[in-house]
């Protein structure tokens, strides 16, 4: 049976070019970066070259990149490190309600240590309103942490605007870019970012490597103390092979980003359109894809519209779910302004009322399609995804959700196969369900 991997947001395979770049650093160039001899120097050089590549991809300086073992570690370092280094200024931190669990749990732990946390609400597309950030910042606020792109529904947050507000107010701004780094452009200076989390295994690099960008001059405390690696901010013998792989992965992403994101956007839109047309009651969670809500289509003349919109299907050909878009006034500013790029190029998240997500994922797996769900039964909490609840889904809608994330090896025929199989699977599960539609 052919197997189709559509869970690139969970992890990605290592690109063979990356594996090749890593190989010398296991048995041959194995030195400890802290050693003075040639073996150490060789490893140290590879480390610093890697740092430069990763720094380049976000327009940071060489000394502003700290390598860690995972995005979770980077996020822990960002939140706790800033909290402990700046508590004399204040003990208030602002996050969003749809952050990754490693931010949510770090914040919860800091709360127990006496810090105060504000969790910002998001709109129905998962967008944080920059003005809410402005209102939440107080004299005691030391950090704002809003993710760049959401891992479940692919929403790209207005971090440039948020960064500007934080800069005006003199508050550190951290963003978790684990899902976006290497997929969409990031410029830490233009976006006024003080700290940024990235991860290697989400961009075709190995697991066990990640980075935290820390702007020069930022006051931060390390969590791991020891031999003083990574400018004293992260002691631990450096995992050179993994970091070399991370850098090679970043190099490839930088080179291929534009073409790849256009290719994936096309595939993504085809899959979204197909599913909404074929499956009754299906709903796209998160920001709309290329086909925009009605209010926008009635907006500026075609010539003034971004190309992506002009190329959209005529209204009559559009699935009902899309035609019934929200009125312009209720729409987030960025969308009203006709911004077609508020969703990661590779993310899709559907809800299918009347079925449960885990059953759907297992049924698809039996047919060779690897997907994922934020559903309760996949976790021990028995409660639906906090992200889907935050964008206003009812628990029963959140339970019937499916995330498909595309990637470097996703082909059009894979999308066609999903479009052939998924409607059948949903229909079958609905037949078993007491809530037949």
């Amino acid at each position: 049976m052919k197997k189709i991997y559509l869970d690139y947001a969970a992890t990605t395979p290592i690109d063979p070019r990356v594996t090749k770049a890593m190989l010398p650093y296991f048995s041959e160039k194995f030195g400890n970066t802290m050693s003075l001899h040639s073996f150490g120097q060789e490893a140290k050089q590879a480390l610093e070259e890697s740092r430069e590549v990763v720094a380049n991809l976000m327009k940071a300086k060489l000394n502003e990149i700290i390598f860690t073992s995972s995005a979770t570690e980077s996020n822990n370092l960002a939140l706790k490190g800033i909290a402990f280094a700046n508590e004399n200024k204040g003990r208030h931190i602002v996050i969003s309600s749809i952050e990754h669990p490693c931010i949510i749990e770090s914040a919860k732990w800091l709360e127990k240590q006496g810090f105060e946390i504000t969790r910002l609400k998001v709109d129905k597309y998962g967008l944080v309103e920059p003005d809410d950030v402005r209102k939440a910042i107080r004299k005691e606020t030391i950090l704002v942490s809003i993710m760049h792109a959401n891992n479940e529904i692919g929403t790209i947050e207005p971090i440039e605007e948020i960064g500007k507000i934080c800069k005006e107010k003199g508050v550190y701004f951290h963003t978790d870019a684990a899902q976006s780094f290497g997929k969409i452009l990031i410029d830490v200076n233009k976006m006024n970012i003080d700290l940024l989390t990235t991860s290697s295994h989400k961009m075709y690099g190995p697991k066990g490597a990640a980075a935290l960008f820390i702007r020069e001059g930022t006051k931060i405390e390390p969590l791991i103390h020891g031999g003083g690696h990574e400018s004293g901010l992260r002691s631990s013998t450096v995992n050179v092979a993994a970091i070399v792989g991370f850098a090679e992965a970043a190099r490839i992403c930088q080179r291929e980003m534009k073409i790849e994101s256009e290719r994936l956007t096309k595939l993504r839109n085809k899959l979204i359109k197909g599913v909404l047309q074929k499956i009754k009651g299906s709903h796209l969670n998160g920001p709309p894809a290329s086909a925009m809500p009605k209010a926008l289509r009635a907006g500026p003349p075609a010539s003034a519209m971004p190309k992506a919109l002009r190329a959209g299907p005529p209204a009559s050909a559009m699935p009902k779910a899309l035609r019934a878009g929200p009125p312009a006034s209720a729409m987030p500013k960025a969308l009203r302004a006709g911004h077609p790029k508020k969703r990661l190029p590779n993310n899709i998240n559907f809800s299918f009322p009347g079925i449960e997500g885990e059953s759907l994922v297992m049924q698809l797996d039996l047919l060779g399609i690897a997907a994922s769900t934020g559903s309760a039964c996949s976790s021990e909490k028995l409660e639906p995804s906090h992200v889907l609840l935050a964008i206003g889904l009812k628990p029963e809608q959140a339970h019937g959700s499916l995330r498909l994330s595309l990637g470097r090896w996703t082909k059009e025929k894979d999308v066609d196969y999903v479009l052939e199989v998924l409607p059948k699977v949903v229909k079958r599960l609905r037949e078993i369900s007491p809530f037949k539609r």
């Binding site: 309600s97 609400k121 998001v122 129905k124 009347g354 079925i355 449960e356 997500g357 885990e358 059953s359 297992m362 049924q363 039996l366 559903s375 309760a376 039964c377 996949s378 976790s379 021990e380 028995l382 409660e383 639906p384 609840l389 935050a390 206003g392 009812k394 628990p395 029963e396 339970h399 037949e431 078993i432 369900s433 007491p434 809530f435």
Partner: protein, 167 residues
Amino acid sequence: MPIYSKEIIKHFKNPKNVGKIKKPSGRGEAGNILCGDIMTLYLKIEKNEKGEKIIKDVKFETLGCVVAIANTSLLTTMVKGKKLEDALKIKKEDLIKRLGQPLPPFKIHCSLLAVDALKEAIYDYYLKNKLEIPEDLEKGHQRITKTKEELEKRYKGFQAFEKEILK
């Protein structure tokens, strides 16, 4: 090791006795949308020549996870043709044993739900026919009702939370 045993996957892929019974002798519901699993079980109960109550037919509908679907399917195959009193003796542990794999703690409640739906259907049958309800069945019914109410309360909490978010 795969996440689920062959037996679970077998029932999940081809669930037995799916559907409804028109005018059932008893109908039972268990689960709550909050935890993601809801099931309805229908029974057709007839007396045999000895006058014993027999489950002649059983059907189910489940909105739920893999284990929930597999469990209800398995349970229906276990009770079909059985005497009512024997069906009442089935415990969640019997299901788990038959599924051939130790379930993670958070999945055990899925097995309990299937058994609950069966007991509720039998309870419904007793009630409809004004039969004397055994003490255990009555106790079980009260526990199930209480859990439902508690979940409902939490669900209301969720709705309030939702409203706040949408504000």
